[in-house]
Amino acid sequence: MALLQVENIKKRFGNNQVLKGISFTLERGQVLAIIGSSGSGKTTLLRCLNFLETPDEGEISVGGKPLLNLGQTLTEEQVRENRLHFGLVFQNFNLFPHYNVLENVTLAPTLLNTDTPERIKAHAMELLEQVGLANKADAYPYQLSGGQQQRVAIARAWAMHPEVLCFDEPTSALDPELTGEVLRVIKGLKGEDRTMIVVTHEMEFAKSVADVVIYMADGVIVEVGTPEEVFDHPKNEKTRAFLQGFQESF
């Protein structure tokens, strides 16, 4: 069974129907890249998956367990438990400025008692090693470049072992020369039990790292497929126009 099942998610802000019925599934260990023009609802979708927004309709299931309880209002505790299935790496990092790099990574596991303090720290150091920042463990966020901050944010998110980690344009707030290091880290994290959803405008990256690509426009999924299918042989006219416009702008 698919690890993640998203069924007919709808979300409206006032009169603005932002998500008009989003459905897809994702297998464990797969990387899904979501592309689409500005305002198509990509961020809103990730925020719904992380329960920062509550969908108006639809269902989200992880490992076969429905999380939205169809229509019923979730209690605060249910929302918090649902969030534990997902992680989110923000466009603008949102590190905690008053904690150093190591503390940023260990804060949530420590507060939520996921393990012994020694093991939490050891695991955090491993993650920092993986994102290439073990030597910055004592630094504060303001002492790091944007790319380094984003790599800390990635380690912080993985430290809670989410079943699905979402990235919302993880490199779009970075100077062009810093995007490479972050994309390399994300690519390097790809592994058997690491399931990821990456919203990105980096087409080359999406092509090389994704198992599945979704093209979204105006709150609907226009096209789904392997990177080859979506990038090289798009079936839909809209997808073709979007990709073409993208090539021209570079």
Partner: protein, 213 residues
């Protein structure tokens, strides 16, 4: 004459200090409660708290002292509180309202992304507030808080309006004995104490400077 006057004034200043310390002890946490009330999503509570803060900040502390001390007796025929207790009650409420507005400004200045980063990690509301928001708020409000606290040192002299002994009173009592200078001398006590506070706040601010943002 200098030594006995100094000793007498020190005794008076100790009374002022008691008002100062007890007011801080009660108003700092009470201010946080008032602040939560005035930021509540429950509209009636929010309106009530904002109105309360407006009344307290919009009227003189001296008047509040008088009302809290004499009010219960005049209005409801209740026995009056001891003068000192009434002073602490009036001061604590008054300063809690000022502090609550400083806290509110600090809390509202924290970016939403900080809350959301805590939320997606699965932290509870309490953990997000006490471990992520509050530490950052404390740094941001240090300057206005130190201002307010220094004002409090001087405001303690208002307690004498309901006949609570404090340093100005101590100084003034020498006039009957033909000495005017002790009254002026009281100023030195305030100055020195506020000087110490200023140094202390500068130290704390420096300590909180280990990070930016």
């Amino acid at each position: 004459m200098f030594l006995p006057v100094t000793l007498e004034l020190l005794g008076g200043f100790w009374e002022s200090l008691k008002v100062f310390l007890l007011t801080l002890a009660f108003s700092l946490p009470l201010g946080l409660l008032v602040c939560f009330g005035s930021m509540s999503k429950f509209a009636p509570l929010k309106a009530l708290m904002r109105c309360f803060v407006w009344v307290i900040r919009g009227t003189p502390l001296m008047l509040q002292l008088i009302i809290i001390f004499y009010g219960p007796g005049l209005l409801f025929d209740l026995p009056a509180m001891p003068r000192f207790t009434a002073t602490i009650v009036a001061f604590a409420i008054n300063y809690a309202c000022y502090f609550s507005e400083i806290y509110r400004g600090g809390i509202e200045s924290i970016a939403r992304g900080q809350y959301e980063a805590g939320q997606v990690l699965g932290l509870t509301k309490g953990q997000i507030f006490f471990k992520i928001v509050l530490p950052q708020v404390i740094k941001r409000i240090m300057a206005p808080m130190s201002n307010e606290i220094i004002t409090l040192v001087k405001d303690t002299s208002l307690a004498r309006i309901i006949s609570v002994y404090e340093i100005i009173w101590a100084g003034e009592s020498f006039i009957k004995k033909g000495l005017l200078w002790p009254l002026f001398y009281t100023g030195a006590f305030y100055l020195i104490f506020n000087g110490l506070l200023t140094v202390l706040f500068a130290k704390i601010e420096k300590k909180l400077n280990y990070y930016r943002g």
